[in-house]
Symmetry: C2
DNA sequence: AACGATACGGAGCGCTGTTCCGCTTTGCAA
DNA sequence: TTGCAAAGCGGAACAGCGCTCCGTATCGTT
């Protein structure tokens, strides 16, 4: 915990301490604004909340994506780290995959509007997309491979497409009580199962 | 076929013929703009393309949703009508469901940005959401019920959630070669299948 | 204390959607 | 044919957004 968390360059480390303080304030303000108004909260609002000018916010976080990445970095890391752990603690790789996807889904549906912004439509969010996916796709691939090796799922599905599928399914979650993103994600994952023979060696 | 297609009121029927002509022009211009720039094409551009002022566009189509609905009404109708037809022509209800979902998916992925706007996030598009879904959900329900009755899928899934799930999966299709919306939709639908026994009519 | 580097604030630009109202066109009626 | 409401039109103008830019304030070092 300190100056060591960099990566996007956003949290790298300004030298002057007012700059450093502002960065923290900004991060907190952004987190609060994201909760209240979603990740698309107006930049002006975030700046106002932090009590700084617009210039400051853009100097520290050149793009909104950088800000979002910085705010959620810890949670993304936690999610990524949970993958291998689940693989060890779960009865089968497929169970681990299911649970991990559940973690990811929970993360997305509880962050108002985050899923919507994970799409690479807008070049503005390209770096956000890339950042999240770079961190999580390898984990997903690992789980997928393990489950495929174990004969529980059909092979040939890449982590990237699954992650994007799940991300997409989470868009707008919570805006309509008739739509339950988690249910649909579960359906998608169920679709991965081997159609017949169930072929799992120890399907318990 | 002509003046009879109303519903949103957008195509109802202005009395003066200049108004009527403008409405047609606007519809064509919008369709063209949607192809070129997606359904979020700036209103000004659409107006300019049609050679009319902004007031005109807003008078005929008070909201962008109305315009989109009007542009795609025919295709949505065609899709809706294909449902029952497929149910009759297909070997099993599940096959019909699969094919119909494929139709819907094709419709969405070929209409640049349409899927993204089908979400009820933005109150602006509420009427678009409602209009499309009102037309298609009953059809989907019918197919779902038929397949469930036939024992091919797990019961308990509503057309509305499936349609939204499919719609979501289609968001951003075509922006990333590594993401194939159709594949993910197929996975989702595969998830509906009964887990074991492959459920022939036997068990009903 | 003084001074250069660093960071700050917010006015301002450009681009959206949307409204509003003076002017034009239309079609009916005299 | 002509006159005249009423219906329709155009685009200036307003509001909200992201983002930039630069004169000014602050920091920390000499």
């Amino acid at each position: 915990m300190n100056a060591s968390d960099q990566g996007t360059g956003s949290t790298s480390g300004p030298k002057r301490k007012d700059a450093r303080r502002n960065q923290r304030t900004l991060l907190d303000a952004a987190a609060a604004a994201f909760v209240d108004a979603g990740v698309e909260a107006p930049v002006r609002d975030i700046a106002a909340r932090a009590g700084v000018g617009m210039g400051t916010i853009y100097r520290h976080f050149p793009t909104r994506a950088d800000l979002i990445i910085a705010v959620y970095r810890h949670q993304v890391d936690a999610c990524a780290e949970a993958g291998p752990a689940l693989l060890e603690s779960s009865p089968t790789p497929y169970a681990a995959l299911e649970e991990w996807i559940g973690l990811f889904t929970d993360f997305l549906v509880t962050k108002h509007g985050l899923a919507a912004v994970l799409q690479p439509d807008n070049p503005q969010f390209e770096t956000l997309h890339a950042s999240f996916l770079d961190r999580l796709v390898p984990v997903c691939d690992q789980l997928l491979d393990a489950a495929a090796d174990h004969g529980e799922i059909r092979p040939g599905y890449a982590g990237i497409e699954l992650m994007r599928g799940v991300g997409n399914l989470c868009i707008g979650a919570g805006t309509d009580p008739r739509y339950d993103a988690r249910r649909m994600v579960a359906l998608l994952i169920a679709g991965l199962r081997r159609p017949a023979g169930n072929g799992a060696p120890a399907d318990r």
